[in-house]
């Protein structure tokens, strides 16, 4: 009996709530194409900017494009989300996987269900997804990072560096290509570690590790960071030690690293604009949905993606942004 009464009371409350939330969701979007970006994690500025791009695309093309993400970086949660999207029968799923390998089976399932799948930051998913959209070739990005490092260091000296984790595909691609490139081009540069440090994308860890490294190698002249947390915390560590002679380069965002660029604790930062990547990925999905051809040279309507190249199912832009003291203010993300 208590059950019945609770249900009654609960039901009344829910009717009110339901009506309210329906109003909040807005009407169903009807026949619009539904393109959903499933990002790595909610509440991170990088993906907040990406959301802008995805939503901009929706506005530009009259598609129902939006972004979701789990509350933690747990790959299992992201997989569940994508699975829900498959069941929702969205038209296209864009995904920036936390762990490309673990999401593979679910993406395959999405493909089987006839959903267009576009991945980003996951070249290994090329062939699984319809297309993998990359802002650039990772090898080029890595080489550029080490070029910038060498330039800042004056072509010689010891350096160290940090990645998100040794198991992170893109970071390691940058690092390996860059190291290879540096060995050939800048013989006087010396990488003092056997492998880069790991920060697990956590600022505190990064700061402590960089600090410890700078203490252990007092004659260090350069530091690269393949993660945003790594490069910004390296710059902060340098600032804390007041060692402007140590040059920091690496992946960076204008909003986070700008301050260090401004004050000279970071020589250069490079990145790609998440909003543009989101936009481009959504555009590729849109084209695929419309049955339009996706081939080298097409214009994805975003700077750096105006003339993409395609190799083995990977769509490459040339959207590398190099941020310096002078230009970082032009970007708001």
């Amino acid at each position: 009996m208590i059950t019945r009464r609770t249900v009654l009371v609960g039901g009344a409350g829910m009717l009110a709530l339901g009506a309210a939330s329906r109003a909040a969701f807005g009407a169903e979007s009807g026949k619009k194409l539904e393109i959903v970006m499933c990002a790595k994690q909610e509440g991170i500025s990088w993906f907040d900017d990406m959301r802008k791009g995805v939503e901009q695309f929706g506005a530009d093309f009259g598609a129902n494009a939006y972004q979701i993400a789990p509350e933690t970086g747990d790959p299992a949660k992201q997989a569940q989300m994508v699975e829900s999207l498959i069941a929702k029968r969205v038209d296209a799923i864009l995904v920036v996987p936390n762990d490309p390998q673990s999401i593979k089976p679910i993406l395959e399932k999405a493909r089987k269900a006839g959903i267009i799948v576009i991945s980003h930051e996951a070249q290994s998913l090329a062939g699984v997804s319809n297309y993998d959209v990359e802002a650039f070739k990772n090898e080029d990005f890595g080489a550029l990072m080490f070029d910038n490092l060498a330039k800042a260091m004056g072509g010689e000296g010891k350096y160290a560096g940090i990645v998100g984790a040794l198991t992170m595909e893109t970071h390691m691609q940058w690092f390996k290509a860059g190291l290879e490139h540096a060995k050939k081009t800048y013989p006087k540069l010396e990488f003092v570690l056997s492998e880069p440090l790991e920060d697990n994308n956590d600022e505190k860890t990064a700061l402590d590790k960089v600090n410890e490294t700078l203490k252990k190698y007092p004659d260090l002249k350069g530091f690269f960071g393949c993660s945003v947390s790594g490069s910004s915390m390296a710059a902060l560590a340098v600032e804390k030690l007041r060692r402007k002679d140590i040059k920091v380069v690496g992946l960076g965002l204008p909003s986070i690293n700008g301050v260090y660029l401004e004050e000279g604790y970071q020589a250069e930062a490079q990145c790609w604009r998440p909003a543009d990547a989101g936009y481009a990925a959504a555009y590729v999905a849109y084209k695929a949905l419309k049955g339009e051809p996706i081939e080298a040279g097409i214009d994805l309507k975003r700077p750096g993606y105006d003339k993409v190249t395609i190799e083995n199912g990977v769509v490459y832009g040339s959207a590398t942004l190099v941020l310096t003291k002078d230009n970082y203010q032009d970007y708001k993300f």
């Binding site: 208590i2 059950t3 789990p70 029968r89």
Partner: protein, 367 residues
């Protein structure tokens, strides 16, 4: 049920008539749980309609549930004895890693062939889970360390072991045969892994309810000193319960391995605290001795439905987290009041009985 005393006890206040015939906390909180499930589902229906309630989506919910359900069952089981098992995710990861290693190791494949390698890997994973659970149980029983502390430590040990062995890297590329078996559908619709979960839930629940082990476990959770004085097999019961937790966790690891076709330390970390939440919401008493394991399954499904509905409605996952937290707090506060009502009811009842005349009949004592 004896109607006489129930009737007499309900004369006092009108609200008492709303209560079930026999007052007990378990029954009350179960009523609330099912009322809650009904309300939430109704709410989801109101908001999303067929966007949620369509066969594809419901099947998808079932597909997403298995590992979470197994982990929650393990957590619930550990709560029966008044304990807790924080190490389940780490065990699931460790077991999955070992299985993945074995399934993908060239020498094993060469020596045994793919099918036997899969079987071996599954058995090895189970062995890891059982071993880890045994270790937890033995440490708890022998050294008298509280389960929370033991499993906090062992969680770090197992996760550390997994990270150390793999360097934090994922292991991928499971044999197709393995992935296909676990992600197959029964009758083309119901996911095989969910059927497995269903079977395990029914089996574990039936076993716990009808076995010496289960009875001992619940009695231990109710009053461990009385269990000791009652000559129950305390040590082995506790060890077995954590061993079963470990085994369930390793099964969850195997399911995850198949679903993601890869395994890595940290997969499913988010489930740890959610599993505690599910177990408590399902009516498992964190102090032990009370609760029905079978209730965990609908509760897991409920949370999965909410999760799924939030994704469909693309609402913030943090709102979901908040609602769960609030639900849990509300649920526990309700149980607090139920306990009071039950105690008051029993006090009144006992006094009434004491005042009744002495019984006069009795059968002579036999051996």
């Amino acid at each position: 049920m004896n109607d006489a005393h129930t009737k007499s006890s309900t004369q006092g206040a009108s609200w008492r008539r709303l209560l079930p015939a026999r007052l007990d906390e378990e029954g009350l909180s179960q009523s609330v749980l099912y009322a809650m499930i009904a309300s939430v589902l109704a709410l989801i229906f109101l908001c999303l309609g067929t966007a949620f309630f369509n066969p594809t989506n419901l099947v998808s919910v079932l597909q997403q549930t298995p590992e979470f359900a197994l982990l929650s069952l393990a957590m619930g089981l550990s709560m029966v004895s008044g304990g807790i098992d924080l190490s389940i995710i780490a065990v699931a990861n460790l077991a999955g890693i070992l299985a993945a290693r074995l399934m993908t190791a060239e020498p094993v494949l060469a020596a045994l062939g793919p099918e036997a390698a899969i079987l071996l890997a599954c058995l090895a994973a189970l062995a890891v889970g059982i071993g880890a659970g045994l270790l937890n149980g033995i440490v708890i029983v022998r050294f008298g360390i509280p389960p929370l502390l033991t499993t906090l430590g062992s969680m770090m040990v197992f996760a550390g072991l997994g990270t150390g062995l793999t360097g934090g890297a994922g292991i991928t590329g499971m044999p197709a045969a393995y992935v296909n078996v676990v992600s197959a559908n029964v009758f083309g619709v119901i996911p095989a892994s969910f059927c497995l979960v269903l079977v395990i839930f029914v089996a574990v629940s039936a076993f716990v309810n009808n076995s010496v082990f289960g009875k001992s476990l619940f009695l231990y959770g109710e009053n461990k000193v009385a269990a000791l004085f009652g000559g129950l097999r305390i040590d082995s019961t506790i060890i077995v319960s954590y061993t079963v937790c470990g085994a369930l966790a390793s099964l969850a690891g195997l399911v995850m391995l198949a679903r993601f076709n890869s395994m890595k330390v940290g997969f499913g970390d988010a489930f740890q605290l959610e599993a505690i939440l599910v177990a408590v919401l399902a009516g498992m008493d964190p102090d032990g001795g009370r609760g029905r394991l079978l209730n965990i399954l609908p509760t897991v499904l409920l949370l999965q439905c909410v999760e799924n509905a939030f994704t469909i409605a693309s609402l913030s996952p943090f709102a979901k987290k908040m609602i769960w937290g609030a639900l849990l707090l509300g649920f526990m506060a309700l149980n607090f009041f139920f306990r009071r009502i039950v105690v008051r009811h029993l006090t009144a009842l006992a006094v009434k009985r004491q005042q009744a005349p002495l019984g006069t009949t009795g059968i002579p004592l036999g051996g």
